[in-house]
Structure formats: structure tokens, C-alpha cells
Amino acid sequence: MTRQKRYFRRLSGYYAWFCVCFAGFLLALTVLENEGMPRLWIGHLFMFATIVLYATIGVVSRTSNVTEYYVAGRRVPALFNGMATAADWISAASFISLAGGLYLSGFDALAYIMGWTGGYCLVALLIAPYLRKFAQYTIPDYLAARYGGGAGGRGGPVRALAVGATIIVSFIYVVAQIYAVGLIASRFTGVDFSVGIFLGLASILVCSFLGGMRGITWTQVAQYIIILVAFLIPTMWLSAKHADNPLPQVAYGSVLPKLAQREAQLAADPREHEVRARFQKEADAYQERLAALPASWEQGKVEAQRRLDTARLRNLSLADVRNAERALAAYPKTVDEAEALWREQRSRLLARAQPPQPHAAPFAGATEAESNARRNNFLALVFCLMFGTAALPHILMRSYTTPSVHETRVSVFWTLFFILLIYLSIPALAVLAKYDIYTSLVGSDFSSLPTWISYWGNIDKVNPLIQVTDINGDGLVQLAEIAIDGDVLVLATPEIGGLPYVISGLVAAGGLAAALSTADGLLLAISNALSHDIYYKIVDPGASTQKRVTISKLLLLAVAFIAAYAASQKPADILSLVGAAFSLAASALFPPLVLGVFWKRANHAGAIAGMVGGFLVCLYYMIRVHPMLGGRMDAAWFDIAPMSAGIFGVPAGMLAVVVASLLTAPPARGSDALVDYIRAPE
């Protein structure tokens, strides 16, 4: 006990020092910025300083001991384990996109807040303490020992299925994280996207390659601190500015009514009506062209060609000729292509023709049925995110790393506590930033637009992150004239609030830390599944511990490069499937994990049926409904979006476990003893 306490005190000392140095670093940069250091340099300094920091922690905690490498020696104190898990959990999506999502969709995006926090109840009550009591290395370890079966009763088939599910889910997720690393690095340091990816990769590798779970745990604690500071400083600033109270979680309640008032005012504003009517007219024009296909396509093509010819004949300026050439080159090549493109443009215009929705109103819909469908989708999404949280291997793996079962329970408490420090401020940031934009940007003069708009608008020329154009030519900004991408909100908040550029760099470093920490945990989950479960448990059970760790490190390297390569291809299809990873994890892993503890009768056949059944039902529904996978929304059951397929997958998996178990012989006596053992306290 005293040794644990001493260890805890020493760790606290290290991190206190880290915080002091970090504050010093921020202060120094602020001074340097005042002295006139260029923006790009500040961006560079933040990127490199943090990456070097993570790599250093990795080098310091390098190890080749099996227990240290896989589960950090099972001696991480609950508080620090909670912090590390929180960093593991807060992905690029939570840090960068969630506040933007709330800004754009209001109440409906709160499903993510509820789902991603509520899932920890399932982790704490149903899974984590029992996994810790079992005290092995991976999730497939537990499933194989509990269900047995296969050659020699070692649970080979169950293990292989669990490994498959772990890899599919974690790989989809890790590609998205590495993609985000590339985006942030390229936006803030001006390097190429792929170079950005490999820079981030270098830091991930040094850390998890050398130190395994031990290395990433201590890095993640540092990353959590950076994430927290980076998120809270701008939010607290905005909160103090608009609500005279620096505690955003408490203060934004007083801003909400003011925002609602402003929304109502803007919805009724005649100038706003004018702009929206213009969008409606353009959308109607597309509708006409769509109705007149294929004649309208040919006509448009002839028109574009003629415009180019006249530009050339009349010897117009070079720029005009170029524009005409570009228009012709960009013109859809086939009728189908034209239909898809015009449909997309029409729906984008129609969306902009809508009046602003009240931020706090739940499930706005034109009809009762539409509103109910949105409520059901909200419920389904919350369900999938919760059960997915309780089945993500890289989170569950963390319950092995604490010194005791009690510490694991406390560690889940700390995890949720640290997650909530961020998650309770995300809706606050969305409301405060919205209020800021609605009151100070809307209605301002076009000649005096703030600089952040042109800065962020110019970063991606093809799909601008933010675009403000004077549609009705009155020289004033209308709300309907602002097109903003959700991802820019958090990154631009410091500038929206008028903070110095150092804070922008800090926010970027926070986003990078969020993406890197999650990627670290996921890569380790994948390579552990491959090296421990496939190589050691199935291929070569006689391997020496030294060999096992070496194999694990090599596999980590290989997986990291494959994931980085996949991310550098900018795979739109994988990115759109990230949300689906939760449904897949929940359907495949949750039923056997929980029933394994709470129902002794669950057996080998049941586990296999549950994993395969749950996964297939989930996958079938996605393929049936997801447009990216060739499905149609008309085929949906109860209007549920494909991302929430887990709402059908989890019950199907549960049912499959129960039915298949009851139809086959009860499990062997050894499994009964194991269940009694993991249920009993230490």
C-alpha cells in the first residue's frame, strides 16, 4: 500500500512539473508573438514541441517485458488510468467535429454527448471489474477462456472471431484518426498532407513501439492535460465575454435564451428572407434541369462550348478564356454524372434556403411523423454509441492495467469525470460561438470582415471551410450568406473570440493530441490482437516472452504503415463509416462479453452464434440502407439511419447467444469455476 502511495506521489510530481513547464512554454510563446514572431513559426513550434515531448516519454518508458508491454505492469493508479483512458477516448472527432456538429444541428447532435458518456455505465457495471479480476492481456483472451471449445478446448474459434471483430472495428477507427493528424498538421504547418501523416506517425511509433502500453499510458496522461487546456482556454474566454462568468458549463444557460431571441429575430428578418429566396430560386433552376434530363445536359454542354468559342473569337482577356475552359472541363461527362452532381447541388442550395432552426428545440419536424422519426433516430444513435463504447477493445483493454479490481472501478469513475470536463463544455462552446457569430458577424459590414474568415476560407480552395459571400449585394452579412463547415469551429474559436494566435496553435496541438492518443491506443489494440492472440496463442504457443514482444513491435510497425497508407489515400468511404464502427463493435462483442459474466449457461456455440449473428445483422442492415455501400434509405426499418444498425445487431446477437446456448450442451465445469472466480472479490 505504501509503495503504491509513494509511486502515486512520484507520478504526481512528474506531471506537476510537466504542467509548470507547459505553462512556461505558453507564456514564452505569448511573449514571442508580441515581439512579432510569424504565425507559421508558432504553428511549427507547437507541432514539433509536442511531438518531441510524446516521443521523449516513449523513449523514457521503453520496455521489453511482456506485462509492462501489454498491460503497463498492472500498476497504473486509478486517477492516472482514468486520465489516460479519457485521452484514449477523446478522439479527433470529439475534439474537432463535435462542437461543430452541435453548432450546425443543435439538439440532435446531443445524441453524441449522451451516447459517448452513458456507455461508461455499461463499462463500469457490467464489464471492466470482471475483466480486471480475470487479469489476462486482451479481450479475446477473456472470451476464449470463458467459452472454450475448438481444438483442446482452448477456444480457438471464439478467439479468432473476437480478433477479427477487434481488427475491423479498430482499423476503421484508426484510419480516421491518422487522417485527422494529417489534416491538422498540414493546416498549421503548411506541410503536405501525406508529410503531415508521416510526421504524426513518427511520434505514434516512437511512443508505442518502444513502450507498448506503458509508453502510451504515460504519453496519454500528458496528452490529456494538453487536450484539456487547449479546449478550456478558448471556451472560458468566450464564456467570460458573453456571460460574465468564466465557467462555461454553468454560464451558457444564460446565453441560451438570448440566442433563441436572436434566432427568432433572424428568422423573421426581410433581408434574410431575400437571401433565402435566392437560394430557393437557384435550387428550383436545378430542379428544372433535372426534370429535363437528358436534353438539358446536352444543351448545357453546347452552351459551355459556345461560351469558350466566343471568348476565344472575341479575343477576351486570358482570364476569361481560362474560366470558360475550366467550366467546360468541369462539366459532367455523362448524363448520370450530371444527375448526381445537380441533385447534390440542389440539396445543398435547399439546405441553405431553410430558416435557422432553434438551437435548443428537440426533434424539429414539419409533421408529427417526421419529428417522431428524428426522435427514434436519436434514441437509436444513443443506444449504439453507448453499447459500442462498452465493446471497443482499446477502451476495455485499459481495465487490465490497474493494480486491483477496486482500482478498476474507481478508474472508470475518473475516466468519465475527465471526459465530462471536456464533454460538458462542448455544448457550451457551440452555443457561445453561435451567439458570437449571430450577433457580431451577422449584420456587420462586408468591408470590415474579420481576418479569420479569409484565413480559414483560403486553406482548402476546393471545399472552403468557411465562405461568406454577398448574395443579395447589400454590403451587409446575412446569416444565410455564411456557409460554415463544422470542423472549422473549434480550430477557429480562438480567433472568433479575438484571442492571440498562440491559443490557435494550442488548440491545434490539442486536436493533434486527441487524434494521436486515440491512434496510439487503437494501434496497440490491433497489434496485441495479432501478436498475442493469433501468433502466441494459436500459431506458436511455445514462443519465448522476448520473441512475443519483438513480434508485437514488428506487427505494430506494419499495421501503422498500412493505416497511414490507407489514410493518405483520403478514403471518403472509410471516413463515412467511422460512426458505423460503434454499431459493429456493439453487435459483435457486447453480447458474448456481458452474457459471459452474467449467464453461466452461455456456451461455446452461443458465443460463436452471437458474434457472427450480431455482426451479420448489423452489416446486412448497413449494406441495405447506406448509400455509400449501394443501399437505399427507402429500405430502412422504422426510418433508422444505417449508422445506428447496432440497434438491430445487439438484440440479434443477444438472441443468438441465448438460442444457440440452449440448443446445445451446457458448458464444461471449468467454465462454471471461471465465472465463479471472476465474480468473487479479491
Partner: protein, 108 residues
């Protein structure tokens, strides 16, 4: 794994029976606590969403109640559930350890 050596004499058998009973009680209490807390978790999550439109008419400190519950309330209740679980489970574990210790003491 639990040791499964069958003790030969009467008092030892009696003792083992009592230990098993103590462990069964511990598991029953764990299960009951888990069930109650999961019911609370389900009720908060479900009611917050299902009755959101009705709750939106009630306002507390500027927040419509449904917005507050979805953005903060439900998550804070989850945190409380996990905290209560860790606290109660520690008590149950200690109770069991004490019973076991007494048994060992009687036999020593």
C-alpha cells in the same frame, strides 16, 4: 482458479459451506445493486430523449429542461451511478473479506 480440494472432516466441510454461502450472498448483493443502477441509467437515458419535446417547455436557469438533461444531466447522473457503484461494491467486498477472516479465525 479457486482451490477445489475436498476437506475430509466435518467442521471443514461446514466451514466451506459457510464460505460458499457468503460468496453467494456477495454475488446476490452485487447483482441487485447492478440491476437497480442499470434501471436508473436506462430510465434517465430513455426518458430524457423520449419526452424531450414535453420537457422542453420547462426551463431551469435558462436551459430548457430537455436540453439540459441531454447536454449535462444524463451524463452527470451516469457519473454518480459509477461513483455509487464503486463505493457500495467496496463495502460489499470488505464485508465478504471480514466474514472470510472470521471463519479463518474460528478455525485457527
Amino acid at each position: 482458479m479457486p482451490p477445489e480440494t475436498a476437506p475430509p472432516n466435518e467442521p471443514d466441510l461446514e466451514r466451506q459451506r459457510r464460505l460458499l454461502a457468503a460468496r453467494a450472498t456477495h454475488w446476490r448483493r452485487t447483482r441487485r445493486l447492478t440491476f437497480v443502477l442499470m434501471a436508473l441509467w436506462l430510465a434517465t437515458g430513455f426518458c430524457t430523449v423520449f419526452f424531450a419535446r414535453e420537457l422542453a417547455r420547462v426551463t431551469i436557469f435558462g436551459w430548457p429542461l430537455s436540453f439540459y438533461m441531454a447536454a449535462q444531466g444524463a451524463s452527470l447522473i451516469c457519473l454518480a451511478i459509477i461513483g455509487i457503484y464503486a463505493w457500495r461494491m467496496r463495502r460489499y467486498d470488505r464485508d465478504l473479506a471480514r466474514t472470510m477472516g472470521n471463519e479463518a479465525g474460528v478455525n485457527a
